[in-house]
Each structure stands twice: as structure tokens, then as C-alpha cells.
Subunit: 294 residues, 4 copies
């Protein structure tokens, strides 16, 4: 099984490593020479262009920042789609917008290529440990063929359905995460200002209808849960600017689908305010400080 | 133990009944003669005025609609505070605003009375079965004295702390509930419009960072969970107009405490829109229909 | 014409002065002795209680902070309503909530008193110069009787209609003012970040469909208009905390009237954030700094 | 002066006609044969491809729907940029996103072409009458060269500055228009529910700090102003779905510029709700019906 891997950042590098550890032949490409060097030192092959990387591969994986980057990598004479063998599989693990994802699926389909949109969650730690959750959209037979590879990078694979469903699942889940994190923050700040003890409110609400993952697994108030960013001055974790990026993807998706997302949209604005105040690199649960004016 | 009980509506009547079943002597008062008659038929005594009701009681309980009603019942020459024996306890089980609650605590304290704010959750069914959750604010020794009585009406008692903490706990929890219910609704509507199967999204998000009680115990989408209002055309359950009332209490609390609640405030506006469109008696999870334009 | 005047703050003092300048006999009352002393030095009479102030007056005017204060001043055995001669007129110039205003109108009516709600705009400068705008609600014949007095305090009198209409007019106008001020601020911040010159944007939008008083008479961007708070580091003018108070009144009114105010409600939250960050005494046009993160 | 004109819809057709009326030689292109036929019947030349249209022209104008369409028309071997003579000018009159506009300016610049972004306002009536307002971004010398042509299509030309400034001006102005229209609507609905006469509120607020173009030139309440959509059951005018499109452009611009637009974002959600309820073709001032639940 010959694999091409494009995008060797904080997430991509450990993911590619896990493929190598599993005995697969991995060829890598990145615009940053140092990132490539670090991989070849560990046994990866290096391609000098996307065209070279794609040639002769069974699977090409991308893990980059934006829909435009994925699009540029795939399209054109030197791109993945024109240079990967017919019948091969293209897997995009980036978190990008629905419109671009669907357009690439259409194009791959016309060219006789398999494609999966396969965004991940679990962060850098999960990428290193191979414990990512991977949400997958695309044809089911393509998913079945790619499953053994995806299992090397993630612990939990969820096949979400038709093309774009992987991105849709991640976008909708993360929008809900942002809303509930801000909701939990508002509730704790209000409770505190009303003179209700924070631990008492946690005890009550976590056992009642206010319970949510943002409260019971990732509480934004220091001193309630162990091992959460709130206890280490909101060092990430999952950075506020990355949450803002996901909320912008939700807005793009909502625009494309004609869906109203009043709280999702307002959450985007609040994270925009927070990031503008210089806190983009803080964990996203630090948004509680915007509300408490700390 | 002689108890006075004011307010024999859908909640108050079964609560008073449960006190009688436990062998307590209960005197009741309500402006609706039929409500009083139904209670006396079951063995309660009836008072013809608040003054008469309060006289000689160990505990007086109110279960009414608004802070103004509680205030009017307590104050003045004919009110509870001037006519209940010194050293007695006043328990307000209504869900009312923080400012009124704290003012009444102050006044009760000056008069040598004990007071507890003790709003409940669990609905009419919980009131009948005696399984309400009761959130209690007030001095701890007053709580200890009243505990045996509260246990007859509720299954789970939570002592939240200083005066007003019971109301604060309920208000903050329910605001968070409204936010997460709308958040879940936005996420499902968007997922659906993006072509992601609803059951698949539930499977993914309920096991991920989007998990919350609104999704996993009270899902607003029909056909996902059993026995939720979504499966019976959103018959309540907990009515949208009652959620709106609680969100208005959250706004009053936020004003008094100088706390920003951007998503809580927006949730109030969305429920206001929904109630104005004629859906006040629908279950609060029906808000998903506002977003999906059904 | 004997007038009683209660509330000698920054607004009330100059308003009472203008009545005296017009030759009216003014008796004053305030809890702050210094405020009273300053008025008596200029020829006012002082009353030692509300009861004494009300006795024998043709008109009693209040200019205080909250609905509760007005209510407390009017009601009870020592209050204005029981001690002013039957047939006299009570004028409340405070900016307070609709519910309290309407309740006081009802009570005054039962007692055979005339009442007007008559909130003002124009600030301290307008109060001193006698150039306030006064919005008046109440029966038209009562308004006609009070008109000569109101004309001494304000330059522009607007009779808005039935009881409560004065407060309604002020609340709705100021809510719209807050919304448009934030809207103008968002537009300028976005334009600036997009590289569009601020003066150019002003030139375009002030002559197009974006024109509004907040832009063309009170522009929040420094260097566009003369003599606006933006040009003096946002020294008020009209303080952000006073705008927040008015937005809270709008929320109370919307609750009482079952009206959705999504942008009004969000404006309240934004001013709450701004005030919480320590800027309550800044002019309300300083909200642009919240958006530009300056 | 030889002009190529692409996009013969409701706006483009009358704009191209006005160029012909002024004696210019106009060659047109559109994917709809009927639209082309209607123009050639009036004396225009027709090109069978974009390539043919661009060849030999002094100026090429586009008036289409989306940034992607403009981009596709300009780029590629058959596009405007590769086939228009060096030194010619490309004018995009479409309302599109800032990111695409700036990217096209960059590309045009590299190829030695002049480019202007020149979105219009004034609607179909303004296009027909040649009275459009045109907001123009690009190099000043390019603007000067194109001015005589733009004057044939618009009555008021505003040179806004550097590349992208035309789009920025339109986007920011229209976002502010949406905010103030919703704000005016909220204020009127609240005033009405509080019992304040609509004409009275108009009289007060239009002369006070709530004044804005949405109120005094385009009032959403029927019976206040003459000749506004409110008086003809909200027949457009400017359709709600077009306002939604502009608000989506504002969100894209805000994302690109890292600007928070809380009220602009919420306005987009409210128009999305309104359009989803089936009112996309109604005038944008009809949004008042969403708030009044009519």
C-alpha cells in the first residue's frame, strides 16, 4: 500500500508517522523543507512536487488549513487528481468548507477516483497517540477500502454517509460545542455574581437539565475538574482561533444550506471579539473571561 | 406541625396534598374557591384570608406565579410576615426574580422569621409523585428545620447556600437549558440541510463534545429518543411560555448582577418570537420548528 | 401656582431652577441636605418630608432614578398621592419602566389626581438651558393644564398620547438610538479594516441608505464631526451606563408587551460587556472601541 | 470606444442599453440566448464566447451574481484577462465578496490591465433611468479613464479609493441599512404594543436621535410615508433575499478582515429566518412582519 501525504504541520506529521509505524510506505510533501526533512529522517520518502507525490499512489491524504489549499492541491495539471492513478483514493483530513468539499467529490467522481472527506477531532495529542476521532463522508465502498488506513491514524471512525457528511458532522458538532461552552460560561458568571458558589452550581447543574460536555468534561471555571485548560491559565487544548475558524465554516455551511443559526452566528461574533482582544492562542474555554471581564 | 399553603394551581395542589398524605395539618388559601374546595374535600382546612392562614402556623408555603404576588402576600398588615408567629419559617416555592427574593429575605430576617427560597423543577408529574428537585437558598439552620417538610414534596433537595441561591440555581440552570436546546436545534437543522442523516448526527455528537442533556435526554428531533415531547407533536412537557418566563427571570437577574448573557438574551428573544407566533403552549423543544421553518 | 419638586440631582436641580426663574413658587425635597441647601439659597422653600412637600401644591414633579423610587414616593400614608390636594397634577419626569408608570396612572386616576409621565432628553446641558425635549403621556386635558409648567423646563414638548406613552416614546427611541450607534460603529470598523478611508465611508453612507442620526449628528469616529464626544476621548455626553439603563427599560417594556427585540436585546448585552470592562462613565458612542478592540 | 458587456439580467440589460444610447459600440455575452437576442435587436453586437467578447475591447464590464462567476469569467485561457488587450480596463459592477475582488485586482495588475470594482445601488429602476449610484474602487488613474463610461450608467459616482473599496463601501452601507431597518421595525412594533400611536412615534423619533433613512425615507410601517413598499404589501423595491445576500457578503468581509459585527451577524440570521419562511421575494422592509408575527 503506497501512500502520499501532503501537509506536515502539528497534526499532519504525527498522523503520517503513525502510518509509517504501521508499516506503510509513505511519501510526503510540504512547502516547509524542515518538516519534510524531519519525516525523511524517520524513513519517509520525499516528493519534490505534488505531481511526483501523486504518481503511482494507492492513496493520497491531505491535511492542510483551508479549502482553497485543498482545491489548489487537487486541481490543475500538476495536481493530485490528474496525477494519481485512476481508481485510487483521495482522503482530505483537513477541516474545510462544505461547498469546496462537495465540488471536489464531484470532480473526483468524474475522474474515476474515490474520495473521502475525513476531518478529525482530538487535537495534537490525539494525532500523536493515534486516538483521533475521524468523521467520514463519501461512498461506502470507498470508505471500506480506506478503513484500514484510517484505523492507523484514529481510534474511532464514524462513517457519516454521503460526500460532505464528514465535514458536516464536524462543523455541526463544533458549532454546538461553541454554543454550549459560551452558555456554560454565561451561567457560571451569572451564578457567581448572584452569590451562588461555583462548585455548588456545578453540583446542581451537572446533575440536571443544564448538563453538557462543556461543563462536565471541559469546565471553563478553574478548580472544578482536573486536567482541563481552565486549571492551567487556559493554555490549549483547542485554541480560540481554531474554534473561530470552525464557526466561520458553520456560517459558510449555513449560507450554502439556507439554515438560520442565530446562536451559532452570535458565538462566532463573540469568539471574533475575544480573538481580536488578543486571545486567539488561548484555549477556547477562556471565552469565560470575556464574559466576566477578567 | 401546622402548615399554611398559599397557591393551589397545577403545582401547588399536588404539593399540598403530599404534605397531607404525610400526616401534616395543612391549611390552604387561594383566590379560586374551587381550588380550595377540592383541597378541603380531601381534609385540608381553609382560611378565608392570608392573615387567618398565617396565624399560628409553624411554616407557611407559597407557590404562585410572580414576584409581585409573593411580595403582596408577604407584606402589609394582612400579609404573612405580620401574622405568622415569630420564629416560624416562610418558604417560597415559586420561581421568581432574585431582587424580590432577596428583599423578602431581608425583611423576614428583620422580623425574626426564617425564610427559604425553594423553587422546584420536575413539572406537574413530579409535583404529583413527590419527586420534584428543590433548590434551596437561605440560612442553613432554617434549611435544616424545614428539611423534613421539603422531603415530603421533593425527592432531591439541594441546599444551594445563602438567601437567593435557590432562585439563582434554577435561573442559571434553565438559562443554560434554553441555550443548549436552541444550540442542539440549530445543529440538527443545519446537519439535515447539509444532507447528514439525523440519527447519524445524533450518534456522532452524543458521543462527542456536542453532548448535552438537551440532546441525549430531551432530543428535539422526532424519532431519536423515546418518550420525549418531540415524538408527540411537542405536547408539553415544559411549555415554551414557561421557558420564556424563566429567561426573563435570567434577564432580570443579569441586570441586577451586571452580568452579560449574550446567548441567554438572544434565547429569550427567540422564545419570544416563537411564543408570539402562537406556540406558547407547545413544549419548549418545539423551538426547532422556528429554525426549520416547519 | 405652587409646585413641589422632588429629586435635586444633576437634572432635577437645573429643572427646578428654571421653574423659579419663571416666577413660580417652588418647594423642594431631596434626601441629600446639600442639594436642598443649594436650592433654598436661590429662593426655594424646603419641605422636611414628602408629606409636607405634597400638602397644598397644585403640581408635584419627581425627577429620580428608578421606578421603585417613584413608586415609594407616591404611595403610602406619607406619599404624594395621599397628601396632594384632590384635582392636583403629578408629573414624573424620571425615565422609568412602563409597568410602574401605568400602575401609578391607574392609582392616581382612582384618587382623582391628574398624572403625566414626562421623561426628558437633552442631558444636563439641556436641563440647564431649558431646552429639553419632553415626551408626555397622560390625559390630554391634564397635559393642557400642565403645559405652561413643562414649557419652563423644556423647549420641545411632544404630547404622545395615553398614560405611559411618554415613557414608551423615550424607551423606543433610545433603543433605536443604541442599535443604530452600534450599527454605525460596526460599519466604520469593518470599512476601516477593509482599507476604506473613514471620511470616504462617511461621505458615501451619510448620503445613502445608511444615513442615521448616530452617524450624521453624533459620529462615533473621531475627526469626522465637530463637537462630538468622539473628539474628546468620549467624555460624555450621554454615558454608556445610562444607555444601558435605557436598554434595560426596553427589555422590561418588551417583556410586558410580549414584543421581540432581537437587536435591542443584543445591544443591551454589548453595552453590559462594555460597562463591565470599566467604561460605564464613557460616552455611549465609545462602544466603537469594544468593536475595534481599542 | 469599444465595450464588451457580460451579464444581461434585470440590471445588466438596461445598463448596457444606456451605453448604446450614448453612442458606444457594445458587444454583449450571456448564457441566455434570449437576453442576447433582445440586445442585438436593439443594435448590440453579440459574441459567441467570452474570449471573442474580450478580444479588441477597450473596456469589459461584468454584471453577474457571484464572485465565483466573475472569477470564472476572468480567469483561464478563454477568460477576459488573457484575451483583452493589454492596457484595457475591466470593470466589475457585480456585488461580490472582498476576497475575490482583491484577488482579481492583483491578477489584473500583474497582467498590465486596469481594473475597477464598481458595485451599484438604485435597483432596476435606477439601472433603466441611468440614475444608479456607483461606488468605485481601484487606482485613481484607471477610474479617471473609465469615468465617462460609468457616467452613462450612473448619476452619482463615488470614488472610494484603493482596490476593493467600492465593494467595501457597498457592503458596509448595506449592512448598516439592514441593522437600522430591523432596529426601526423593533422600535415601531414595541411602541405599538405599548399603546403608542405609530404616527406619533414617527413624529417623535424622526425628529430625534432615532432618526435614520430606514425610518424617514423607507418606513416599514404602512401609512406613514408615500410610495414605499410598506404601502403596497411590501412588493419590492429591494428584495429580502438580496439583502440576505449582501449580509452574507458582510460576513465574508468580516471574516477576511477579522472584524466583529454582532448586530450585522444577527441581522443576517433574522433575514435568513424571514427568507426561510417564504418571504425572500418580499421587500426587505417586510422584516417588520417577522417581529410583529403578522
Amino acid at each position: 500500500m503506497k501512500i502520499g501525504f501532503i501537509g506536515l504541520g502539528h497534526m499532519g506529521s504525527p498522523m503520517a508517522h503513525n502510518l509509517m509505524k504501521a508499516g506503510m510506505e509513505v511519501t510526503v510533501y510540504d512547502v516547509m523543507p524542515d518538516a519534510v526533512k524531519a519525516m525523511t529522517a524517520d524513513g519517509a520518502k520525499a516528493a519534490s512536487s505534488v505531481k511526483e507525490l501523486a504518481a503511482g499512489k494507492d492513496v493520497v491524504i491531505t491535511m492542510v488549513q483551508t479549502g482553497k489549499q485543498v482545491s489548489d492541491l487537487c486541481q490543475g495539471d500538476g495536481g493530485v487528481f490528474k496525477n494519481i492513478p485512476s481508481g485510487s483514493v483521495f482522503i482530505d483530513c483537513s477541516s474545510i468548507d462544505i461547498v469546496t468539499t462537495k465540488a471536489l467529490h464531484d470532480e473526483a467522481n468524474k475522474l474515476g477516483l474515490g474520495m473521502l472527506d475525513a476531518p478529525v477531532s482530538g487535537g495534537v495529542a490525539g494525532a500523536a497517540a493515534g486516538t483521533l476521532t475521524i468523521m467520514i463522508g463519501g461512498k461506502e465502498d470507498v470508505y471500506k477500502r480506506a478503513e484500514p488506513i484510517l484505523q492507523k491514524m484514529g481510534k474511532k471512525l464514524v462513517y457519516a454517509g454521503q460526500p460532505g457528511s464528514g465535514q458536516a458532522a464536524k462543523i455541526c458538532n463544533n458549532m454546538l460545542l461553541a454554543i454550549s461552552m459560551i452558555g456554560v460560561s454565561e451561567a457560571f458568571v451569572l451564578a457567581d455574581k448572584l452569590g451562588l458558589d461555583k462548585k455548588k452550581f456545578f453540583e446542581i447543574s451537572s446533575n440536571a437539565s443544564g448538563q453538557c460536555w462543556s461543563m462536565t468534561s471541559y469546565c471553563p471555571v478553574p478548580g472544578i475538574l482536573e486536567n482541563v485548560p481552565a486549571n492551567r491559565d487556559y493554555q490549549p487544548g483547542f485554541m480560540a482561533k481554531m474554534m473561530l475558524k470552525d464557526l466561520r465554516l458553520a456560517q459558510h455551511a449555513a449560507e450554502a444550506a439556507d439554515a438560520p443559526i442565530p446562536l451559532g452566528g452570535m458565538s462566532a461574533e463573540l469568539y471574533e471579539l475575544f480573538v481580536n482582544q488578543g486571545h486567539g492562542d488561548m484555549d477556547f474555554s477562556g471565552i469565560i473571561n470575556l464574559l466576566s471581564s477578567k
